[in-house]
Amino acid sequence: MAILDELRRRFGDAIVETEDHRGDLTAIVRRDALLGVLAHCKDDGALAFDVLMDLTAVDYQKFPGREDGPRFEVVYHLYSIARNHRLRLKVRVDEDDARVPTAMGLWPIANWLEREVWDMFGVRFEGHPDLRRLLLYEEFVGHPLRKDYPINRRQPLIGPAS
């Protein structure tokens, strides 16, 4: 809880919402403040989040109660080896403007994680040096973990590697 208080005090309006669910801390951050919050979480001695455990996204299209809100949430799971505590940061982005600044400057692992999110959800990461698909192949059309991707859509088979 102290972590969330500290974040709210330091970043004010940039922290849209916080939640403490039985010790699992979540903060929703405005996109323009995201890099600053991430950098603080990593570099501050009391927080010391030296590991980006996961970076993923959620598609809230047609989610009950969230029909009007921003469609995607990009989720950062941070862990501190030194302090043994965790934090989840979320940033909400619209479908027409699905862009988030890259976190590669802070945690190099963000390179592949961001490529995976681009691959599956079509969220762009600005400043990423090599935003190619990670798991699927180049010829693939669309982003399959989006809720409006038809479950039985067939992609063209890729030819033998030559």
Binding site: L136, P144, R154, G159, P160, A161
Partner: protein, 152 residues
């Protein structure tokens, strides 16, 4: 052997009989069906009885391609290439429902049956198939090999 130390047969039948007991398989194992394949290949079920005891891990030395497990679209070109590298005569066994139809993986990543890529001789359904089904499939394949008209 008949009287006098010889017997008569058709060349096709002799070759078919020889081939059906010298099945060198290439196991293309990609998923959980592989465990059942290993169970079948081990001593308890003893597929050496059918002359299929020796897997070859080079497609150029193999007669039968065992496709064991889910094939994703990304894997498909690799499978096709392995098949193309095998020398004639060659046969293909689709092992498990994923290779037969895609199974319950009706999604963006999975090939809906390997017969969309390469010809298949025997389908062994099951998730995964029991070793008994595999042996049944193997015997069906043997019948097919034995009955095959040879091209010389």
């Amino acid at each position: 052997m008949g009287v006098g130390g010889f017997f008569t047969s058709k060349l096709d039948e002799a070759i078919g009989w020889a081939r059906k007991y010298s099945i060198f398989q290439y196991p293309f194992v990609t998923a959980c069906c592989g465990i059942e394949y290993m169970a079948t290949a081990c001593s308890h079920y003893d597929i050496d009885r059918f002359g299929a005891g020796l897997p070859r891990f080079s497609p150029r030395q193999a007669d039968v391609l065992f496709v064991v497990g889910t094939i994703s679209h990304k894997m498909a070109p690799v499978l096709k290439r392995i098949y193309d590298q095998m020398t004639e005569p060659k046969w293909v066994v689709a092992f498990g429902v994923c290779t037969c139809t895609g199974g319950f993986y009706d999604n963006y990543a999975t090939v809906q049956g390997i017969d969309t890529i390469i010809p298949v001789d025997v389908y062994i359904p099951g998730c995964p198939p029991r070793p008994e089904s595999v042996i049944d499939g193997l015997m069906k394949l043997q019948d097919k090999i034995a009955a095959q008209v040879q091209r010389y």
